[in-house]
């Protein structure tokens, strides 16, 4: 079941105020987690553009994680509310393009949730590990003109 040799590459888009700080807390508390995820810090999940996610898959990510403040707790009042609305649409797009939903994970991790951050990372890494490498991105690349 488990693929011992396959170490997935995962990109995480996280907001500066909640999840990034939650990850800092996991560090300060010396919690251990899977090393496969690379965080890209954004001011807010509101900044996340669906194209970024496609871009990440295009560049070879096996999974993409998006994480920000809990709904209602956004540092910028409404940023993550807009993000959420976009994501709902984005899920459909993903489906349409044929990217397995399980390769994209949305979660809320607040600045005080170091433990939750660790659980989210470990859970997602294991899920992607079970899926195996993501090889379909070329197809998507062909079908979708991605600017930037």
């Amino acid at each position: 079941m488990e693929n011992k040799t396959f170490e997935p590459k995962i990109i995480a888009f996280v907001c500066n105020w909640c999840t990034y700080t939650g990850a800092d807390l996991a560090g300060t508390s010396r919690m251990k987690y899977e090393p496969n995820v690379r965080l890209i810090k954004l001011p807010c999940t509101g900044r996340i553009d669906p194209v970024m996610i496609l871009k990440a898959f295009e560049k070879g990510a096996d999974g993409v994680l998006v994480s920000g403040c809990h709904p209602g707790d956004c540092h910028y009042n409404a940023g993550n509310f807009h993000a959420r609305r976009r994501w709902i649409m984005f899920h459909k797009l993903l489906d349409f393009v044929g990217i397995d939903e399980n390769r994209l994970h949305f979660s809320w991790v607040s600045a005080s949730e170091g433990k939750k951050f660790v659980d989210v990372i470990n859970g997602f890494v294991n899920k992607v590990k079970a899926k195996g490498p993501f090889e379909k991105y070329e197809k998507i690349n062909k079908e979708f003109v991605i600017n930037g």
Binding site: E2, E34, N122, N126
Partner: protein
Amino acid sequence: MSHQTTNHTRTMTDDIKDITSQNPDICYQCGKCSAGCPVRNYMDEAPNLIVRYIQLGLYDKAVNSSTIWLCAGCLTCTTRCPKNFELAAFMDALREIALKKGIKIKEKAILKFHKAFLKQIKNHGRSYELGLIRDYKLTTGDLMADVDAAPDMLLKGKIGIFPHNIKGKESIKRIFEKTEVK
């Protein structure tokens, strides 16, 4: 499942973790379990102390106690534990381990009762009262137990005189064999 414990010897704590999927170290020894345990007064050790012994690695003290056998599995402790530690399941695990290790059991009668009970199930697939009483009395030697109640029960048909054998009797036997219960 990504982290495997490799280079340390297996302890009873590991066995307990395996059987019950819980970590005895979460217990902070508040004693609420013992405070509400209905059979606390008959036990030689308080239930919370059994957990303590495991935490300290004093396994002998834990498996040799009468406590693990007197525990009636009533779940009072599990329901009230502030740490959500499932003490009743933990007691089950300890009994199982004690049996596997062939420890001399303090509460012999209780064990004999369980054995006699399981024997009926193994043989017939269902409980068979007369067989149970017979086997229990023979193993304990307490032939006079409940002689006063028995005739009444027999008369009322509450003690089955003949066993009811289920069709899948053989599959039950195999279950016993595979789970190594003698």
